[in-house]
Protein backbone atom coordinates (compact mmCIF):
# COMPACT_ATOMS: atom_id res chain seq x y z
CA UNK A 1 0.00 0.00 0.00
CA UNK A 2 1.30 3.48 -0.83
CA UNK A 3 2.22 5.71 2.05
CA UNK A 4 -0.42 8.27 1.02
CA UNK A 5 -3.12 5.61 1.00
CA UNK A 6 -2.01 4.36 4.39
CA UNK A 7 -1.96 7.87 5.80
CA UNK A 8 -5.47 8.56 4.53
CA UNK A 9 -6.79 5.37 6.09
CA UNK A 10 -5.07 6.14 9.39
CA UNK A 11 -6.74 9.56 9.43
CA UNK A 12 -10.07 7.77 9.82
CA UNK A 13 -9.13 7.16 13.46
CA UNK A 14 -9.65 9.71 16.25
CA UNK A 15 -6.90 12.25 16.78
CA UNK A 16 -6.03 10.98 20.27
CA UNK A 17 -5.79 7.44 18.93
CA UNK A 18 -3.53 8.58 16.09
CA UNK A 19 -1.25 10.43 18.46
CA UNK A 20 -0.61 7.19 20.29
CA UNK A 21 -0.81 4.53 17.57
CA UNK A 22 -0.84 6.47 14.30
CA UNK A 23 2.82 6.12 13.34
CA UNK A 24 3.09 2.39 13.91
CA UNK A 25 -0.36 1.77 12.44
CA UNK A 26 0.53 3.66 9.27
CA UNK A 27 3.76 1.69 9.01
CA UNK A 28 1.75 -1.52 9.31
CA UNK A 29 -0.73 -0.41 6.66
CA UNK A 30 2.10 0.35 4.24
CA UNK A 31 3.06 -3.31 4.45
CA UNK A 32 -0.46 -4.45 3.53
CA UNK A 33 -1.79 -4.91 0.03
CA UNK A 34 -4.37 -2.30 -0.87
CA UNK A 35 -7.61 -4.29 -1.01
CA UNK A 36 -11.31 -3.98 -0.23
CA UNK A 37 -11.03 -6.33 2.74
CA UNK A 38 -8.20 -4.31 4.30
CA UNK A 39 -10.10 -1.06 3.76
CA UNK A 40 -13.25 -2.57 5.30
CA UNK A 41 -11.28 -3.90 8.23
CA UNK A 42 -9.63 -0.54 8.87
CA UNK A 43 -12.96 1.25 8.51
CA UNK A 44 -14.54 -0.99 11.13
CA UNK A 45 -11.56 -0.48 13.38
CA UNK A 46 -11.92 3.29 13.03
CA UNK A 47 -15.64 3.13 13.83
CA UNK A 48 -14.82 1.05 16.88
CA UNK A 49 -12.15 3.54 18.02
CA UNK A 50 -14.55 6.48 17.58
CA UNK A 51 -17.28 4.65 19.49
CA UNK A 52 -14.94 3.86 22.35
CA UNK A 53 -13.67 7.44 22.43
CA UNK A 54 -17.23 8.81 22.47
CA UNK A 55 -18.16 6.57 25.34
CA UNK A 56 -15.06 7.60 27.26
CA UNK A 57 -15.70 11.28 26.51
CA UNK A 58 -19.26 10.92 27.69
CA UNK A 59 -18.16 9.56 31.00
CA UNK A 60 -15.51 12.25 31.32
CA UNK A 61 -18.10 14.92 30.69
CA UNK A 62 -20.33 13.38 33.29
CA UNK A 63 -17.53 13.11 35.80
CA UNK A 64 -15.76 16.40 35.21
CA UNK A 65 -18.56 18.78 34.31
CA UNK A 66 -21.94 17.50 35.33
CA UNK A 67 -21.12 15.65 38.53
CA UNK A 68 -19.69 18.69 40.38
CA UNK A 69 -22.88 20.61 39.67
CA UNK A 70 -25.01 17.74 40.85
CA UNK A 71 -22.99 17.49 44.05
CA UNK A 72 -23.26 21.24 44.50
CA UNK A 73 -27.03 21.08 44.25
CA UNK A 74 -27.07 18.15 46.65
CA UNK A 75 -24.89 20.07 49.10
CA UNK A 76 -27.30 23.02 48.94
CA UNK A 77 -30.27 20.75 49.40
CA UNK A 78 -28.57 19.14 52.37
CA UNK A 79 -28.03 22.49 54.06
CA UNK A 80 -31.51 23.78 53.33
CA UNK A 81 -33.11 20.49 54.32
CA UNK A 82 -31.30 20.74 57.64
CA UNK A 83 -32.58 24.25 58.09
CA UNK A 84 -36.14 23.33 57.24
CA UNK A 85 -36.04 20.33 59.56
CA UNK A 86 -34.87 22.46 62.47
CA UNK A 87 -37.36 25.21 61.69
CA UNK A 88 -40.15 22.72 61.31
CA UNK A 89 -39.26 21.12 64.63
CA UNK A 90 -39.26 24.56 66.26
CA UNK A 91 -42.57 25.38 64.62
CA UNK A 92 -44.16 22.17 65.87
CA UNK A 93 -42.74 22.70 69.33
CA UNK A 94 -43.59 26.35 69.78
CA UNK A 95 -45.99 27.20 66.97
CA UNK A 96 -48.55 24.48 67.48
CA UNK A 97 -47.89 22.47 70.62
CA UNK A 98 -47.06 25.45 72.76
CA UNK A 99 -48.88 28.27 71.10
CA UNK A 100 -48.16 30.51 74.08
CA UNK A 101 -44.41 30.43 73.39
CA UNK A 102 -42.98 33.90 73.15
CA UNK A 103 -41.76 35.36 69.89
CA UNK A 104 -38.31 35.72 71.41
CA UNK A 105 -38.20 31.96 72.13
CA UNK A 106 -39.25 31.11 68.60
CA UNK A 107 -36.81 33.55 67.03
CA UNK A 108 -34.02 32.23 69.24
CA UNK A 109 -34.70 28.70 68.05
CA UNK A 110 -34.87 29.81 64.46
CA UNK A 111 -31.53 31.57 64.84
CA UNK A 112 -29.97 28.47 66.35
CA UNK A 113 -31.45 26.47 63.49
CA UNK A 114 -30.09 29.02 61.07
CA UNK A 115 -26.60 28.76 62.50
CA UNK A 116 -26.68 24.98 62.27
CA UNK A 117 -28.13 25.03 58.77
CA UNK A 118 -25.74 27.73 57.56
CA UNK A 119 -22.79 25.80 58.96
CA UNK A 120 -24.04 22.58 57.38
CA UNK A 121 -24.52 24.32 54.04
CA UNK A 122 -21.10 25.93 54.18
CA UNK A 123 -19.40 22.69 55.21
CA UNK A 124 -21.13 20.69 52.50
CA UNK A 125 -20.19 23.25 49.86
CA UNK A 126 -16.63 23.52 51.09
CA UNK A 127 -16.17 19.78 50.76
CA UNK A 128 -16.73 20.25 47.04
CA UNK A 129 -14.49 23.26 46.50
CA UNK A 130 -11.77 22.61 49.07
CA UNK A 131 -9.23 22.16 46.28
CA UNK A 132 -9.69 25.81 45.37
CA UNK A 133 -10.24 27.31 48.82
CA UNK A 134 -7.70 26.32 51.43
CA UNK A 135 -9.46 28.13 54.27
CA UNK A 136 -12.45 25.91 54.91
CA UNK A 137 -13.38 27.36 58.28
CA UNK A 138 -13.64 30.85 56.77
CA UNK A 139 -16.03 29.57 54.13
CA UNK A 140 -18.22 27.92 56.75
CA UNK A 141 -18.18 31.01 58.97
CA UNK A 142 -18.92 33.33 56.05
CA UNK A 143 -21.82 31.14 54.95
CA UNK A 144 -23.25 31.06 58.46
CA UNK A 145 -22.94 34.83 58.95
CA UNK A 146 -24.41 35.50 55.53
CA UNK A 147 -27.28 33.18 56.34
CA UNK A 148 -28.03 34.89 59.65
CA UNK A 149 -27.91 38.38 58.15
CA UNK A 150 -30.15 37.22 55.33
CA UNK A 151 -32.61 35.64 57.74
CA UNK A 152 -32.85 38.84 59.78
CA UNK A 153 -33.36 40.96 56.66
CA UNK A 154 -35.90 38.52 55.24
CA UNK A 155 -37.76 38.48 58.55
CA UNK A 156 -37.79 42.29 58.62
CA UNK A 157 -39.35 42.24 55.16
CA UNK A 158 -41.75 39.35 55.56
CA UNK A 159 -43.11 39.68 59.08
CA UNK A 160 -44.76 43.08 58.39
CA UNK A 161 -46.21 41.64 55.18
CA UNK A 162 -47.55 38.62 57.04
CA UNK A 163 -49.01 40.80 59.77
CA UNK A 164 -50.60 43.30 57.39
CA UNK A 165 -51.79 40.98 54.67
CA UNK A 166 -52.34 37.68 56.42
CA UNK A 167 -51.94 34.33 54.73
CA UNK A 168 -51.84 34.22 50.94
CA UNK A 169 -52.93 30.61 50.92
CA UNK A 170 -51.16 27.88 49.09
CA UNK A 171 -49.19 28.21 46.82
CA UNK A 172 -49.15 31.98 47.32
CA UNK A 173 -47.37 31.72 50.66
CA UNK A 174 -44.70 29.51 49.21
CA UNK A 175 -44.21 31.69 46.16
CA UNK A 176 -44.19 35.05 47.97
CA UNK A 177 -42.62 34.25 51.32
CA UNK A 178 -40.45 31.43 50.12
CA UNK A 179 -39.27 33.37 47.11
CA UNK A 180 -38.43 36.53 49.06
CA UNK A 181 -36.83 34.50 51.85
CA UNK A 182 -34.73 32.52 49.42
CA UNK A 183 -33.70 35.53 47.37
CA UNK A 184 -32.65 37.59 50.39
CA UNK A 185 -30.89 34.78 52.26
CA UNK A 186 -29.31 33.44 49.08
CA UNK A 187 -28.05 36.89 48.13
CA UNK A 188 -26.58 37.52 51.60
CA UNK A 189 -24.90 34.10 51.63
CA UNK A 190 -23.65 34.73 48.12
CA UNK A 191 -22.16 38.12 49.02
CA UNK A 192 -20.49 36.68 52.13
CA UNK A 193 -19.02 33.82 50.09
CA UNK A 194 -18.04 36.11 47.23
CA UNK A 195 -15.79 38.11 49.54
CA UNK A 196 -13.70 34.96 49.98
CA UNK A 197 -14.14 33.66 46.48
CA UNK A 198 -12.94 36.79 44.69
CA UNK A 199 -9.44 36.26 46.13
CA UNK A 200 -9.18 32.80 44.62
CA UNK A 201 -11.19 32.98 41.40
CA UNK A 202 -11.70 35.37 38.54
CA UNK A 203 -15.19 36.24 37.31
CA UNK A 204 -16.67 35.64 40.77
CA UNK A 205 -18.90 38.71 40.51
CA UNK A 206 -22.04 36.77 39.60
CA UNK A 207 -21.75 34.47 42.58
CA UNK A 208 -24.22 36.35 44.78
CA UNK A 209 -26.81 36.49 42.01
CA UNK A 210 -26.60 32.79 41.29
CA UNK A 211 -26.73 32.04 45.00
CA UNK A 212 -29.90 34.12 45.35
CA UNK A 213 -31.59 32.49 42.37
CA UNK A 214 -30.69 28.97 43.48
CA UNK A 215 -31.83 29.60 47.06
CA UNK A 216 -35.14 31.06 45.87
CA UNK A 217 -35.63 28.07 43.61
CA UNK A 218 -35.06 25.73 46.52
CA UNK A 219 -37.55 27.63 48.65
CA UNK A 220 -40.12 27.57 45.88
CA UNK A 221 -39.52 23.88 45.36
CA UNK A 222 -39.65 23.03 49.06
CA UNK A 223 -42.99 21.86 50.35
CA UNK A 224 -42.26 23.63 53.61
CA UNK A 225 -41.23 27.21 53.50
CA UNK A 226 -41.03 30.35 55.52
CA UNK A 227 -44.73 31.19 55.85
CA UNK A 228 -45.74 28.96 58.75
CA UNK A 229 -42.72 30.06 60.74
CA UNK A 230 -43.22 33.68 59.89
CA UNK A 231 -46.86 33.35 60.82
CA UNK A 232 -45.93 31.66 64.05
CA UNK A 233 -43.39 34.33 64.85
CA UNK A 234 -45.84 37.08 64.13
Amino acid sequence: MKDTQAARLARLYPRAWRERYGEEFTALLEEQQFSASVIANVLLGAIDAHARRSAATGWLLLEQRLAPWLWWVLAGMFGWAGLLAVMYAAFLRYGVVASNASTVTIVAHLLVGGVLAGAALGAAQWLLIRRYLPSGHKWVIATTIGWLIGAVLAGALLIPIAVAHGPFGWPGDTIVHGGVFGLVVGACVGVAQWRLLRREARHAGGWAGWSAVSAATRCWAAPMSAPPFISAAS
Binding site: Y21, L29, L44
Partner: protein
Protein backbone atom coordinates in the same frame (compact mmCIF):
# COMPACT_ATOMS: atom_id res chain seq x y z
CA UNK B 1 -16.54 -7.34 5.15
CA UNK B 2 -18.83 -9.92 6.71
CA UNK B 3 -15.85 -11.79 8.07
CA UNK B 4 -14.37 -8.63 9.56
CA UNK B 5 -17.70 -7.58 11.00
CA UNK B 6 -18.25 -10.99 12.53
CA UNK B 7 -14.79 -11.00 14.00
CA UNK B 8 -15.40 -7.61 15.58
CA UNK B 9 -18.72 -8.69 17.00
CA UNK B 10 -17.07 -11.70 18.58
CA UNK B 11 -14.27 -9.55 19.91
CA UNK B 12 -16.46 -6.87 21.44
CA UNK B 13 -18.73 -9.40 23.05
CA UNK B 14 -15.77 -11.25 24.45
CA UNK B 15 -13.86 -8.18 25.65
CA UNK B 16 -16.75 -6.96 27.76
CA UNK B 17 -16.29 -9.88 30.10
CA UNK B 18 -13.72 -9.58 32.84
CA UNK B 19 -12.40 -13.14 32.93
CA UNK B 20 -10.09 -14.70 30.41
CA UNK B 21 -12.62 -17.17 29.12
CA UNK B 22 -14.47 -14.35 27.46
CA UNK B 23 -11.51 -12.92 25.60
CA UNK B 24 -11.81 -12.72 21.91
CA UNK B 25 -9.96 -14.86 19.43
CA UNK B 26 -7.81 -11.95 18.18
CA UNK B 27 -6.74 -11.06 21.71
CA UNK B 28 -5.89 -14.64 22.52
CA UNK B 29 -4.00 -15.03 19.27
CA UNK B 30 -2.01 -11.88 19.96
CA UNK B 31 -1.12 -12.96 23.48
CA UNK B 32 -0.13 -16.42 22.23
CA UNK B 33 2.06 -14.80 19.61
CA UNK B 34 3.71 -12.52 22.16
CA UNK B 35 4.36 -15.52 24.39
CA UNK B 36 7.21 -16.29 21.97
CA UNK B 37 8.78 -12.87 22.56
CA UNK B 38 8.15 -9.20 21.82
CA UNK B 39 6.85 -8.39 18.34
CA UNK B 40 5.59 -5.43 16.38
CA UNK B 41 2.29 -5.43 14.52
CA UNK B 42 3.42 -6.85 11.21
CA UNK B 43 5.48 -9.59 12.86
CA UNK B 44 2.45 -10.51 14.98
CA UNK B 45 0.29 -10.83 11.88
CA UNK B 46 2.86 -13.08 10.21
CA UNK B 47 3.34 -15.17 13.34
CA UNK B 48 -0.39 -15.60 13.92
CA UNK B 49 -0.90 -16.62 10.31
CA UNK B 50 1.79 -19.28 10.69
CA UNK B 51 0.66 -20.36 14.16
CA UNK B 52 -3.09 -20.55 13.69
CA UNK B 53 -3.71 -20.04 10.00
CA UNK B 54 -5.64 -16.85 10.75
CA UNK B 55 -4.93 -13.60 8.93
CA UNK B 56 -5.87 -10.71 11.19
CA UNK B 57 -6.72 -7.44 9.51
CA UNK B 58 -4.83 -4.33 10.67
CA UNK B 59 -8.00 -2.80 12.16
CA UNK B 60 -8.76 -5.96 14.08
CA UNK B 61 -5.18 -6.30 15.24
CA UNK B 62 -4.96 -2.78 16.63
CA UNK B 63 -8.48 -2.90 18.10
CA UNK B 64 -7.36 -5.88 20.16
CA UNK B 65 -3.92 -4.41 20.91
CA UNK B 66 -5.45 -1.23 22.32
CA UNK B 67 -7.76 -3.22 24.59
CA UNK B 68 -4.99 -5.52 25.76
CA UNK B 69 -2.73 -2.58 26.53
CA UNK B 70 -5.51 -0.74 28.39
CA UNK B 71 -6.04 -3.81 30.54
CA UNK B 72 -2.36 -4.11 31.29
CA UNK B 73 -2.00 -7.50 29.65
CA UNK B 74 0.58 -6.28 27.15
CA UNK B 75 2.99 -3.36 27.21
CA UNK B 76 4.60 -1.29 24.48
CA UNK B 77 8.37 -1.24 24.17
CA UNK B 78 10.39 1.69 22.79
CA UNK B 79 9.72 2.22 19.10
CA UNK B 80 12.13 0.82 16.55
CA UNK B 81 12.01 3.38 13.76
CA UNK B 82 8.27 3.55 13.00
CA UNK B 83 7.40 0.16 14.43
CA UNK B 84 6.62 -0.38 18.07
CA UNK B 85 7.05 -3.84 19.56
CA UNK B 86 4.81 -5.15 22.31
CA UNK B 87 5.42 -7.73 24.99
CA UNK B 88 3.31 -9.67 27.46
CA UNK B 89 3.18 -8.29 30.97
CA UNK B 90 3.24 -10.46 34.06
CA UNK B 91 -0.53 -10.19 34.25
CA UNK B 92 -0.77 -11.09 30.58
CA UNK B 93 1.34 -14.21 31.09
CA UNK B 94 -0.93 -15.32 33.94
CA UNK B 95 -4.10 -14.68 31.99
CA UNK B 96 -2.79 -16.45 28.89
CA UNK B 97 -1.62 -19.44 30.90
CA UNK B 98 -4.96 -19.71 32.64
CA UNK B 99 -6.88 -19.44 29.42
CA UNK B 100 -4.75 -21.95 27.54
CA UNK B 101 -5.05 -24.38 30.43
CA UNK B 102 -8.81 -24.15 30.22
CA UNK B 103 -8.72 -24.58 26.46
CA UNK B 104 -6.43 -27.57 26.86
CA UNK B 105 -8.78 -29.17 29.38
CA UNK B 106 -11.69 -28.46 27.08
CA UNK B 107 -9.86 -29.93 24.09
CA UNK B 108 -8.84 -32.99 26.10
CA UNK B 109 -12.38 -33.64 27.23
CA UNK B 110 -13.69 -33.25 23.70
CA UNK B 111 -11.08 -35.66 22.32
CA UNK B 112 -11.90 -38.20 25.03
CA UNK B 113 -15.56 -38.10 24.06
CA UNK B 114 -14.70 -38.54 20.42
CA UNK B 115 -12.45 -41.49 21.26
CA UNK B 116 -15.25 -43.11 23.26
CA UNK B 117 -17.60 -43.18 20.28
Amino acid sequence: LYDALGRYAVEDDAMERPDLGRFSDPSLLIMASLAGGPKHGYAMMQDIAALAGVRLGPGTLYGALVRLEERGLIAALPAEERRRPYQLTGAGVGVLEQHLTRLSAFAGAGLQRLAAR
